[in-house]
Symmetry: C4
Subunit: 234 residues, 4 copies
């Protein structure tokens, strides 16, 4: 059932390792089937080297396992909460990639300091509030998804395709799981560049709002002109 | 004798190199046979490329060579002291991995700043006091083990699976030598993330005690729910 | 048409990835044919893995596509502006390499702190002013080239083979596209070394002007004595 | 002539690249034949990929080419000066490795902050004074060797196997060229660890003089007990 999606999700999880974003089993990626609404996700604590496409677990949005013999990722309730909150997204990735995690651990958003950032995020990469004691004690992973959704409020998840969970690390998403993984890679790069930039104490006003707007719209939305036309080699 | 353990210890030493934790011969790993109490350890100053499983040296807990033609690692007395002090552990790894060594050299413990840390260490990564002159002049390596044991006092080595020796570098341990090596890898990652987080000047209270408790217990002890049930693919 | 140049430009673009200077499609390189004046450039948003020499687009200096079925790099107008402003150059590379981008994002030039820098750049690596709103809204990429040319004023592009665009990242150039790519690699190295040097708070006067002059002239101009004589193995 | 030495020097130069210490052609290594006193050194500006053992140039101590069709490294006069000043050494390596160069560019010695350092250097890694104008204008490379020798004064080059040239980068040496290359690798590691340690603001007295003495003597001199006995697998 949904063998194609399971293979894509399996490959996306391996890409997290290949891109250097995941150490041991610290990360996971999932994809959603638009028709059935089912979610395919990495099994919990299984080594990437041994994982096969058939190990990918299929869940419905309530968290019930529809197919698969292994336990789903312990972060599955976070993924499901995000799929419920953001109907427009089709894939999610979670890592503990080092520089993004530094900002998450510091409880600081990543300000937009340059065009690399503006190409992907239409504004700062937000950081959630920390979870309260009661939110941690019960349904911790689900509540992690809820504080992300709460943080977004009026933010558009299509234009801000990721978040830092305070004291934890990044979640990213996209139309597909492959896009979610790419966004994890770019978020890590943005974070590393921001760390160095902040150490250099940037002069004010180097990156004005109109440049953010320009760069984001070069790649996203109806006036995008980066890349090739649809159907052309990519 | 104990060929299986020797092969496991040999492989664990190679993993230290593969994970980028060891430069030249700066590191070593050992494993303990539960039945006989014997310890299998890397020979001293032998290049990783040329080392074979049969080069692994077998020692009894007093430090006497039971099997092997090469000298054991010069750090063997530290390993043996730790096996005596912590009967519950079955493997030890020692490296000069860069970021963990930075904290050790600075004489600073690594505070728990995020979930990656809390997944492995149930509290800060402790740092020993520096060794006194007399402790260095005589039985230096044995005394290194003693100051680690002294530092632990009421700490539980199963819940704090590693330490920073002031002015030196990290030692980690686990139920097996493979787990000890994994903990070396994760300690290095935790240290790198902590360094960056501290440079970003984290806001207070991002990582509360209840979140530390939650994350550690997700993976360790009777209520752990991370990963697969015993006997299932890992 | 110009198949040789297209192959060279294709290879130069792959080298940007091989040297670790480009993530996903964040970078591009071009070369100019001296006789015809045509410019060969990477297509926009095409993955490096799938790109073939025949995908390289040929443009005239006005930006008209002379050969090629794909859209040229969205940064092509910047390249063309630079070829117009600096008739002496034959190749250009653009990346978002991390440390060079940190300085660009901070709006700070890279001061000459050592001989590695002086071997390549005859003075600080300059940073442009930020683009004004109107320059961003209309002909943004062309204006990016114009602010680079404006910044150069009396600077000699043969002696300063690169620049940081404020809030964006580096452009480098050379007699050939291969030289432009090498300069991107060295600029990233210079930037990384400068970041660390500045964190160490260098003592004043470590690198005097006469040492800059000496090192640059060892490798460039009529009195150069580094390397082999022309026609000898290189 | 001296084909064996040429092959060893050729391999040592390739190791500099393999260890990540050299970018493009920024580095060189040489070895001295004890009997003849001749020095085998890398040719200038030749790419590491194309270099063959037969390209290695043989010089006498005055700098005259005894064998070889290519120009020797432009840094050859520095090497020769060091061989004259330090009769006990048999090999030299020079790189622009990043972290060692950061300290050189900052004009700061590397203090001994831990056992990794103490295993190799019996004290801080010294930094030279900067060269004066006249020393740069005439016989620059030879004078680079002279300021190193001047800096050593009472220091013992067997116990301090390397130096930072202010505003430039590191030179290391050893009994053989292979040892010189290993010392370049370890110096880079020591420098990277020192940079991070200094950012963490180390508490005073973490690394006392008696620990420096102990660690250095574990590996060097008549009382060394690290590694295997002579003639045993290494």
């Amino acid at each position: 059932m949904l063998e194609g999606l399971k293979e894509i999700v399996w490959k996306a999880n391996l890409d997290l390792v290949r891109f250097g974003l995941v150490t041991l089993t610290f990360g996971n990626a999932s994809g959603r089937d638009r028709k059935s609404g089912l979610v395919a996700i990495k099994p919990s604590g299984v080594s990437y080297e041994k994982m096969e496409p058939s190990d990918i677990v299929l869940l419905d949005l309530s968290g019930k396992t529809v197919e698969g013999e292994l336990r789903p990722s312990s972060d599955a309730p976070t993924h499901l909460e995000l799929y419920r909150a953001f109907p427009e997204i089709g894939g999610i990735a979670h890592t503990h990639s080092e520089c993004a995690a530094m900002f998450a651990q510091a409880g600081r958003e990543i300000p937009c300091l340059g065009t690399t950032h503006a190409d992907i995020f239409h504004g700062p990469v937000p950081v959630t509030r920390r979870l309260r004691r009661a939110e941690v004690l019960k349904e911790y992973e689900k509540n992690t998804g809820k504080v992300i959704a709460e943080r977004f409020g009026k933010l558009n998840p299509r234009e801000i395709p990721g978040v830092l969970v305070a004291g934890h690390g990044p979640f990213t998403w996209g139309e597909t799981v492959a896009e979610a993984v790419e966004n994890s890679l770019l978020l890590e790069k943005i974070a590393r560049m921001a760390l160095g930039t902040l150490l250099l104490q940037p002069s004010r006003g180097v990156f004005p709002a109109y440049l953010l707007e320009k760069h984001f719209r070069r790649k996203h939305g109806p006036d995008a002109y980066y890349g090739q036309k649809k159907g052309i080699k990519k």
